[in-house]
Symmetry: none
Subunit: 155 residues, 2 copies
DNA sequence: TGGTATAACATGGTATTTTGTGGGATTCAA
DNA sequence: TTGAATCCCACAAAATACCATGTTATACCA
């Protein structure tokens, strides 16, 4: 069993007429060690699909519980948005998943999907949207070098 | 198991037509004790490739999670930038890795690679870029002697 | 200390496996 | 029975493991 577990790299795969996509082999190999399925949902902030292992959503649920009130509107909203949208996707013997219409539409994906590793999770973009996003990020990071220490307090 | 674990020295190896390079035997011997693969990505600040063990990125992932909010733009930007670019490279029985086009291009490497140890990580340069970089560093250190104490607070 | 034998390494080429992708066939539910 | 989802098979391209050889560095012995 591997010690670390990170989604990495940027991989471009085709989406066929049925809506099937190969999960990049790297991702698959990792996922397989723990499960046979991944969870996908529409990103809350970007026109893309997000994917991860169910574990992560479990952690997120705990975080939300800790950070917000049980009866609060925020907790309601967050849980609705994420868990109301998320779904499990199992991959077949060749390693493909069948993405839903809803997800594809939200990401503007037709025949090509760009998988972008994000550590504990990953994103799936259309080539056009990803190009824009990548430029945006690089521009922003060029301006302000990221700082990790003490950012929370400052915000 | 060794106590210390540092990439050191500067080693020049050839890159063949397929993009294969021998990992310096010193590096390999260390890496082998923990893993059969290394992670490489484009340096954020220089025209070179950086490499390290997956552990280091795992630590970084945790740091990012701790320092930023799950839904923040900062976390999004950072994780995309770092993990979207990184990739695992396993070395074969002779100790070579196959560098990707993207990485080679970013570093301007064609047929020769310069490995430079940097402690927990290392860098891979083209001979031309490395020469420039080395001069730059030496010049800078001549002007301002490095200080270790209290640098963090001043920044 | 010098010379030789030995082992380790870098590097070139070849064979094998993996992976992505297309097209049916089969099952399940509406 | 029809449409959608799932499974299975097949092929081509690419990634990866394996084998072989010249060269360099290391160890050993006189």
């Amino acid at each position: 069993m591997r010690k670390v577990f990170l989604f990495m790299d940027t991989i471009i795969n085709k989406v066929d007429a049925k809506g099937r996509v190969s999960l990049p082999s790297d991702y698959r190999a990792m996922v397989k060690e723990l499960s046979t399925e991944i969870v996908c949902y529409r990103s809350l902030t970007s026109p893309c699909i997000e994917g991860c292992l169910e574990d992560l959503l479990d952690k997120l649920a705990t975080q939300i519980e800790d950070a917000t009130d049980f009866f609060s509107e925020t907790q309601d909203n967050l849980t609705n948005l994420i868990f109301g949208d998320a779904r499990r996707f199992t991959f077949d013997s060749t390693g493909r998943i069948l993405l839903s219409e809803k997800l594809l539409k939200h990401a503007g994906i037709t025949d090509t999907a760009v998988f972008v590793g994000k550590g504990r999770k990953f994103q799936i973009w259309s080539p056009e949207n990803w190009e824009k996003e990548e430029q945006r990020i690089r521009a922003e990071v060029m301006q302000n070098r990221p700082v990790l220490k003490r950012e929370k307090e400052e915000n």
